[in-house]
Every structure is written in C-alpha cells, then in structure tokens.
C-alpha cells in the first residue's frame, strides 16, 4: 500500500441533449420573459475597439448534415490580446458569447471584435484566435476547438505547430469571404474533420 492522494476526479460530463436551449438561451428556446435576456448575446458592447467581424458557419455531422440543435460558446481576448479579468482589458469587450445553430438551416453567426495575439507566460505569443465550445445531443462531452484566421500570421502559434498533419491546420482557419466577414465550418467527422482540442 502507498499513501492516499486526496484530490478528486472531475464530475463526469453528460450530453447537453436537444433541449440545452431551455437552460442556456431560454429566450431563443421560446421561454421569453423568464430572464430579462439570454446570457452571452454579444461578446462586445458598442465602443469596442478593433475590427468588428462576423463569423458564420455550421456544424456538420459524419454524414455531412448541418446539425440543427448545437449550442456554441466562444471565449476570446480583446483586440490587444487581453482577456476579461486581466489588467487593462477593454471595458467594452466581455469576450464571451453563446449562440445556437439555426433550427431550420443549422447556420450560426458570431459578431465580435477580431482578437489580438495572446502573450504566453513562458514567452512567445499565440496567434489571434477565438476559443469555441460545442455541445449538442449526441455529443457526450463538450468539444473544444479554436477559430484562427487565414489572413493573420499563424506561423509561430504553438498549438497550430503541434498539428502533425499539416493539411489539417486549415480546419482551424476561418476563411475571409468579404471585408469583415469570415466563414468557419466545423466537421465532426470525415475528410475535413476539425481538429478538436484537449487542453
């Protein structure tokens, strides 16, 4: 026998199910009035500094079907690369948003400020990115990924550098479709399977 460690395992995850909207974005789910407004409607307020962008996309299952019941959350720094809670953060950037796939088309949309690169405590910087967390019926533990931008310098990003199959890097790059407009599709399986993260 050895000494006993006293730390705990995490509580296990369970799927968010098809009705996640009731708990997380009740107004969207048709429960208007139960709260004044849904949480995380926008990651920015009027006056946020930086380039205002819109990222649209969809979450595709292994058959190529855009799933209609996903809920997504995003977390990002301001244009200077600072997260809420860190000193000097821009007051008009909360950095957090919640949004759902459209019930008819499966499309989602995020209007935000383009994030800055993020300093790492050990030196170096992460390229500009938005962290994403995806839950839905059939997803047993929330899927984490990141939106990087094809028009930024991603060459020194430590996470992207860890992707062995270099052709998979593009699954994390939002494509610029017009000024201020980006497309970011998420593929749960298949030839273009998105790189999902464990960090």
């Amino acid at each position: 026998m050895v000494q006993k460690l006293d730390w705990l395992d995490e509580t296990p995850s369970q799927t968010a199910g098809p009705y996640v909207h009731i708990g997380c974005i009740p107004t969207f789910a048709g429960l208007a009035g139960i709260y004044p407004e849904d949480l995380g409607l926008s990651p920015i307020a009027d006056g946020a500094e930086g380039e205002i962008i819109t990222i649209t996309g969809a979450v595709f299952d292994g058959t190529g079907w855009a799933i209609r019941d996903a809920m997504l959350e995003s977390w990002q720094p301001d244009a200077q690369g600072l997260f809420t809670g860190q000193p000097g953060t821009h007051p008009k950037v909360s950095g957090f948003a919640r949004f759902a796939a459209d019930g008819e088309s499966g499309e989602f949309s995020l209007r935000t400020v383009k994030p800055g690169s993020v300093a790492l405590p050990g030196g170096g910087r992460q390229a500009p990115h938005v962290a994403l967390w995806i839950v839905a019926r059939g997803i047993n533990i929330g899927l984490a990924t990141r939106i990087y931008f094809e028009d930024e310098d991603n060459s020194a990003d430590p996470l992207l550098a860890r992707i062995e199959q270099r052709h998979r890097v593009r699954t994390l790059l939002a494509k610029r479709t017009a000024p201020g407009q980006y497309r970011f599709d998420i593929h749960l399986q298949g030839d273009n399977e998105t790189v999902f993260l464990d960090l």
């Binding site: 509580t11 429960l31 997803i139």
Partner: protein, 245 residues
C-alpha cells in the same frame, strides 16, 4: 471569494472518467463524435481565463423553478424538491461565485421546447430552467419539482430516467462542464444508454443524487444533494517557467 490565480495551468482532463464519445447504444453519438484523436497540450491563458458573472445578473426567483415561470403567481405541479450541493475543484477548493444553470422536464416528463412533442401536457405554471451563483463556500440550491421520466427516440422503447441538466462555468473556460443529475433509486438509470456512456460505474454513481432528509423541510419539500467537481489547477513552485528551466 476564493479566486484561483490567473495563469495557473489546469490539471489535464482524465478522459477515462468521462463518457466515451461514441457509443452505438446512444445512436446520435455515432455520427457526432470525432473519429480522430484530440490534440492534447498543456492549457494556455485562453483556457485559464473565463467569463465572470455578477449578482446583478440573477433575479430573486431565478433559482426557484416552482415559481419563476409565473413570477410567483402560481406554483408548478409536481413533487416539491430542494436540489442543493457544492461546486468545488479537484483539489477540494470551493468554486465561489460561479454560475450554475439547470433545465429539466416538467412532472409529466415534457419539456417546454418546440421540438418536444411528447403527449404529456405542458404545465402552464412551469418553465423548466433556473440559475444561481455559488456562495463563498461554493454552495448552490434550487427549489423545483421532480422531473418525470420520458420516452425518447433511440432504440424502440428507451426512456430517460428522471434527471436535471446542469451547466457550470467554473473560473476558467477550460473548466466548462455540462452534466446531468439523476435521482437515487430510479430503476431507469440502469437501462439508460445516455447514463451508460459513462463506463465506470463509480463515476456514473457520482451523478446520482441521494435523498437528503437533513435538508428536507417537513410538510414542504424533499431534498437531494448533488456535489460537482470541476478541473483543478496545478499549484507548484515550479509553474510558469519555460520548459527545461
């Protein structure tokens, strides 16, 4: 508030104690689970920071699902229960001031959702969601009604056990967790393919809330206790130094 320091790395997630991503008995998971391995690395400031929510967000009835849909005008139908517990991290530190959100079916097993067509009726006095912030010791409580079991389209005759969905933020985005609480003694737990996506019986048992008569109120409500453990942070004197130094 027992804040964790920013930039302390998160303890890596032990995926073995979580559900398997793909389980043929839970059919929808088959096409919605990544086939390729996750990219694993140490957490970064992106995961070590996270959104914060203040008391201004929370209305006085937000944690009372018996009354919040009607703004107190009429109580929901069903067995009245208190659901309470603590949110802590893996190192047993309380997670204070964190947002806990719940949602559930009504007493008949019906959700107030456009896509739920089960024949059990909606309760005009029940919405089905609630939220609260944990106190300085990580404690939370909700007053609600016991949700009903209900059938769902999977195998021909699958029924969900009574359950309440929980969403918890923690203090950093990498701690984010959604799970479900089950009720002690429910025979449907053992038959549920969603519950059994968790392959460790000991881990599944951690989602089963015991009846807690010490917190039940005579002639008013029963109580169930549900504690939640989120990822912890490494705290050694060697953190935040470049690799190899």
């Amino acid at each position: 508030m027992a804040d964790s320091p920013l930039n302390a790395p998160l303890i890596p997630r032990n995926r073995a104690i979580h559900p398997v991503p793909c389980d043929p008995d839970y059919k929808t998971s088959v096409t919605r689970s990544p086939n390729l391995p996750l990219l694993s690395m140490d957490s970064t400031p992106t995961e070590e920071t996270g959104p914060r929510f203040g008391h201004a967000l929370i209305g006085p009835l937000d944690n009372n699902l018996i009354l919040n849909w009607t703004k107190g005008a009429a109580p929901a139908i069903g067995e009245r229960i208190l659901v309470h517990g603590r949110v802590m991290d893996q190192l047993r530190r309380p997670v204070a001031g964190t947002l806990v959100e719940i949602w559930q079916a009504n007493a008949g097993g019906r959700y107030r959702h456009v896509k739920d067509g089960y024949l059990a009726p909606l309760d005009p006095n029940f919405g089905g969601c609630g939220r609260t912030l944990t106190d300085d010791e990580g404690r939370y409580q909700f007053l609600t009604i016991r949700p009903g079991a209900y059938p769902w389209p999977n195998r021909v005759n699958d029924w969900r056990p009574m359950h309440i969905h929980f969403s918890v933020f923690g203090q950093s985005f990498g701690q984010r967790l959604i799970t479900q609480m089950y009720f002690e003694g429910d025979p449907l737990i053992d038959r549920c393919p969603i519950a059994h996506t968790i392959k460790s019986r000991a881990q599944l048992d951690r989602l089963v809330a015991p009846l807690d008569m010490a917190h039940a109120r005579p002639h008013d409500f029963l109580a169930y206790r549900f504690d939640i453990v989120l990822r912890g942070r490494r705290q050694t004197m060697f953190e935040n130094r470049p690799e190899g130094m």
